[in-house]
Symmetry: C2
Subunit: 211 residues, 2 copies
DNA sequence: TAGATTTTGTGACGTTTTTCACAAGTGGCG
DNA sequence: CGCCACTTGTGAAAAACGTCACAAAATCTA
């Protein structure tokens, strides 16, 4: 039951949640920390330590009730409710994301799409009409949007961010390869695929030369 | 000059490299650890420690010569050469990635596209023709492919991986939301956007209830 | 009920990573 | 040249994170 939670713990909690869904799908009722560890590339002690930051959810000798733990994790991760999301940038990556069903399945509901291209503004994607950037603030405000998926070119990203932040959003999933300047309290997750490719080439290069 | 390098160091090195490119674009010749730190959301001491794992590249009193450090980082990260990449899965995310210029700019050159859909096989994207999965091994072999960008549905991912690994690839950028089973020496980077959204909703939820 | 068996929750411990602090280089300038 | 201002590189200290080991709780068996 501690205060500051390591980011690595949060990542693992997401894995545990996915594993629990799988296990529930298999019809199982309980699960041990050891099994969760096996499915998540970690150790049983780590699983228990991770969970212990938030309380004690298991029964000694038995393990965890799958359904209960799943509910607890959803609560902890804040996915026990619907999050209203705006997609800003209806380009290549934006359209792939929009059609990706996994987001909505997890409670992230895209309720607005914004793009600056006059050719795109007004077009309909699913049930949504693409809106111009001028409407960002009012959309966020009237639709109660808390999260933004930012998929615009790098040079537009900071400006859009400032406006979204000003309108009261709470978190950003940022695809633009820049470090956004935001108030300290705001949550930002960067998706940087070039960095991940570089991690791969480093690992491969290192391995070859190192030992 | 140590042996085992933290993953967080590698991530920061990528940031430093990008910052150095910006700085070079601004026409500057030298840079201090402090300025690199400011641009990278870290500290000057951390920058110096990160670099010190690989040697000493700066001059006391002066800082680092931008061009030289950039070259060293490219060498360290293994991006001082071209990496041949296969894109497997020519769907929504695959097509966004294929058209993303940042990869090629950094030396990741897509030299093959594979998809299982008969409607897609044979189509041309840029200068490439989409190949059927049966050809994975021979493409990897004859084209000298070392990296795979895996953008197929989760249920196909492991099978494709096994074949690519068998054919000798060295790293995988994996978009499928499963943990791939690969030999220990193989480099895998997972892109898991749902996990990143969950990190956001956790941070937001936590902040609200915590303090 | 007693004893064997299982598995959690957690304090203590060990390792990794970050931060700190400063001696030692470097160039500029009077 | 000698001093000053600046900045690196790096041991040592601190903090963060992960692992271990075991008492405690729960079930099962007979
Ligand atoms: N394509 C990829 O695979 C990929 C991968 C990782 C990151 N990214 C990053 O994601 C961002 C978008 O990439 P993309 O490939 O989809 O580019 P894209 O050009 O296909 O799409 C960008 C969209 O943003 C719109 N836009 C531009 N300025 C805008 C503004 N001020 N307000 C609202 N909309 C605006 C454009 O009209 C366009 O529709 C870029 O920052 C890119 O670096 C792309
Ligand atoms: N769309 C997104 O925004 C997004 C985001 C993150 C992760 N992902 C993941 O990326 C993967 C692809 O997603 P998508 O949205 O592009 O799906 P998609 O259905 O649009 O594309 C998948 C492609 O893979 C091809 N394919 C299927 N089986 C194959 C096989 N055995 N060999 C070769 N090709 C095969 C299909 O023909 C299709 O073209 C999925 O695992 C998904 O979970 C998608």
């Amino acid at each position: 039951m501690s205060r500051r939670i390591p980011a690595s713990t949060i990542r693992r909690l997401s894995h545990y949640l996915r594993s629990l869904e799988d296990i529930e799908g298999e019809g199982r009722e309980t699960v041990s920390s050891e099994e969760l560890a096996d499915r998540g590339q970690t150790t049983a002690a780590q699983v228990r330590k991770d969970l212990s930051h938030f309380g004690s959810f298991g029964k000694r000798g038995l393990g965890y009730r799958v359904e209960e733990l799943r509910g607890r994790l959803r609560q902890i991760l804040g996915v026990d409710r619907v999050w209203r999301v705006a997609l800003i940038g209806a380009g290549r990556i934006g359209s792939a994301l929009f059609e990706y069903p996994a987001f909505e399945l997890r409670g992230y509901e895209c309720v607005a799409i914004v793009d600056a291209d006059p050719e795109k503004i007004g077009a309909t994607w699913g049930a949504l009409r693409i809106r111009p950037p001028e409407e960002i603030e009012s959309l966020i405000d009237t639709l109660g949007i808390e999260l933004v998926i930012l998929a615009v070119p790098a040079q537009a990203a900071q400006q859009i961010t400032d406006r979204a932040v000003h309108a009261g959003i709470k978190g950003i999933l940022n695809f633009a390869p820049i470090r956004l300047k935001v108030p300290a309290h705001l949550a930002v997750e960067d998706v940087n695929l070039v960095m991940q490719l570089e991690a791969l080439s480093f690992a491969i290069t290192q391995r070859g030369s190192g030992d």
